[in-house]
């Protein structure tokens, strides 16, 4: 009987696992192996080069730029989207006329394709006649090309990410806020607790698990979402908005340097793994609040 169960189980798992192995595990392994070999060129076959690809990476200024940009990008988008999400949730938590409409306004960017979002914002940023320039015009400020300048391109791209993400994170905060018992608020009101103190001493600690969960998600997204870079800046100008995944794409499919792209992919996987381990750690540690 037990034996039959085993066979059934393995049969049930078989189709899913064939695909999982073929398109996740084996490619991941192969990527690791490839990262120690050179890119085959013409008639010259691939050769074992040890850590050459990684050594080259350390000396590659564009890689350094991409890592640095990814770090800034993460440092900007994570706190901004998390804090905005919380503010939105606190806001639309109450019931008043038009609150449903507001929730909708915040959440809508989440369902739009990132490519579409990028197009909309491209228009928004357009020098000369985009809305931002028109508002600047009202104050007599000169026109700016936010996406075309090295100093601002990365920030302009980060704003778009925050716009898309914050509404998504808001719904998790909304759910978390609903689990706070109303009796706590009543008790605090009787004690003469100000609403700011209540927020800081009661609400914030209680929604800490959500904050951590959302932050980990924001971290992963910071390294994974690059669609808008394709439309808005293509990593430019002069690599000012180059992000790690975009750089992998460029190496793999524009320069066809697959070995170097593999080495870069390994770095990205390492980053994602650290974030993922953080998530498990967080999920295990923080449940004691309830």
């Amino acid at each position: 009987m037990l034996k039959r169960d085993w066979i059934h189980a393995w049969l049930l798992l078989l189709p899913a696992f064939v695909l999982l192995l073929a398109f996740t595990h084996l490619p991941a392994m192969q990527t690791l192996i490839d990262s120690f070999w050179s890119t085959p060129k013409g008639r010259r076959p691939s050769a074992f080069v040890g850590t050459d690809n990684y050594v080259r990476m350390l000396a590659d200024p564009i890689f350094a730029k991409a890592m640095w940009n990814s770090a800034i990008y993460a440092a900007l988008t994570i706190p901004a989207s998390v804090m905005l999400a919380l503010a939105m949730a606190l806001w639309v938590q109450a019931r008043f006329a038009g609150v449903a409409l507001m929730r909708m306004a915040f959440f809508t960017p989440t369902v739009l394709p990132l490519i579409a979002v990028a197009n909309i914002w491209l228009f928004f940023y357009a020098p000369g006649f985009g809305l931002i320039d028109q508002i600047r015009g009202l104050f007599g400020l000169p026109s700016v090309n936010l996406l075309g300048q090295g100093g601002s391109a990365l920030y302009a791209v980060a704003v778009v990410t925050v716009w898309k993400e914050a509404g998504f994170f808001m719904i998790f905060y909304l759910a978390a806020l609903q689990t706070i018992p109303p009796a706590l608020r009543e008790a605090a009101a009787i004690e003469g607790c100000s609403s700011w103190a209540f927020f800081r001493r009661v609400t914030l600690p209680l929604i800490m698990p959500t904050t951590l969960f959302v932050s980990v998600n924001a971290t992963i997204n910071a390294f994974r979402l690059v669609d808008h870079v394709f439309v808005m800046t293509r990593g430019g100008p002069d690599n000012a908005s180059m992000l790690l995944l975009y750089y992998i794409f460029e190496n793999g499919f524009r320069f066809w340097d697959t070995a170097y792209a593999s080495a870069l992919t390994i770095v990205l996987i390492a980053v994602l793994t650290v974030a993922g381990i953080g998530q498990f750690f967080v999920a295990d540690r923080r449940v004691h609040y309830r």
Binding site: F17, L19, F23, H25, F106, V111, I115, F123, Q134, L245
Partner: protein, 255 residues
């Protein structure tokens, strides 16, 4: 205030898409409304084909995902077998290393399989979704064992049990996953961009990006119209089934 700021980009796009190009940056209430931008966009690129491709792609992915992952989730939730925890850990790995990251290697696999530039190739890496297996396993585990035993006493075999008890009770979770999956793949861009290179296979997102970047002569109003057009089905679906959407996204995230 913040809400207004939040919808401003959208409203701006809507405004310019529905008005003649001359009004794209002039906000006059009396500006004439027009659908011409949509007509122009539709005529300038094979959007009908892109729509078909995307709809086919999304349906294909969801159907295969649901069938494969239901089977796997059922095995993980209700059967005991050697290697269970190792295999489950392997499933969880996919939550971490998403197919989007393995572009280069997956492209080579597709080349070896001769599948480059097919819709099947866009879907293949996503068919076995670690996330779907995880979500459905959680759902199946919450189903009381008594039901299971009752069905077995009635002479129900394993597949019958899955089909008559677990699938019906798992429907809400499947619906939630379905919404998330459809919107994810409708919006997915990087992998389809890499693997497709013809009109016959390109999904909407890739088509839109090509339309918006190569035709530098195209007016903004037309690009905006195209942008709205490609997101319209999802947007409409979201407006109609707001509650389900929000709940599904949330459920999908928390688990």
């Amino acid at each position: 205030m913040l809400a207004v700021l939040w919808v401003a980009p959208l409203l701006y796009a809507l405004w310019s898409a529905f008005h003649p190009a001359a009004y794209e940056a002039r906000f006059v209430l009396t500006a004439p409304l027009t659908l011409e931008n949509f007509v122009t966009a539709w005529g300038k690129a094979p959007f009908a084909r892109y729509f078909l491709n995307t709809i086919f792609l999304v349906t294909l992915i969801l159907t295969v995902q649901l069938s494969l992952c239901t089977l796997a989730a059922f095995a993980f939730a209700r059967l005991e077998f050697p290697g269970k925890s190792v295999l489950f850990a392997l499933v969880l790995v996919q939550l971490l290393i998403m197919p989007d990251v393995l572009l280069v290697e997956n492209y080579r696999s597709m080349m070896r399989l001769g599948l480059v530039d097919t819709i099947l190739a866009i879907g293949l890496p996503y068919f076995a979704s670690g996330f779907a297996i995880f979500l459905l396993r959680q759902t199946f585990r919450a189903i009381p064992k008594e039901l299971d035993e009752a069905a077995r006493i009635e002479g129900c075999n394993l597949m019958g049990l899955l089909w008559r008890v677990y699938v019906p009770l798992g429907k809400p979770a499947m619906l939630a996953f379905g919404l998330v999956s459809v919107s994810h793949h409708w919006n997915n861009f990087l992998w389809p961009l890499v693997i497709t290179n013809s009109v016959e296979t390109r999904p909407l997102t890739v088509g839109l990006s090509i339309f918006a970047t190569t035709d530098s002569g195209t007016e903004w109003a037309v690009i905006n119209a195209a942008t709205l057009m490609t997101s319209a089905p999802l947007l409409l679906g979201f407006l109609l089934f707001q509650r389900q959407f929000v709940q599904s996204f949330m459920r999908a995230g928390i688990k």
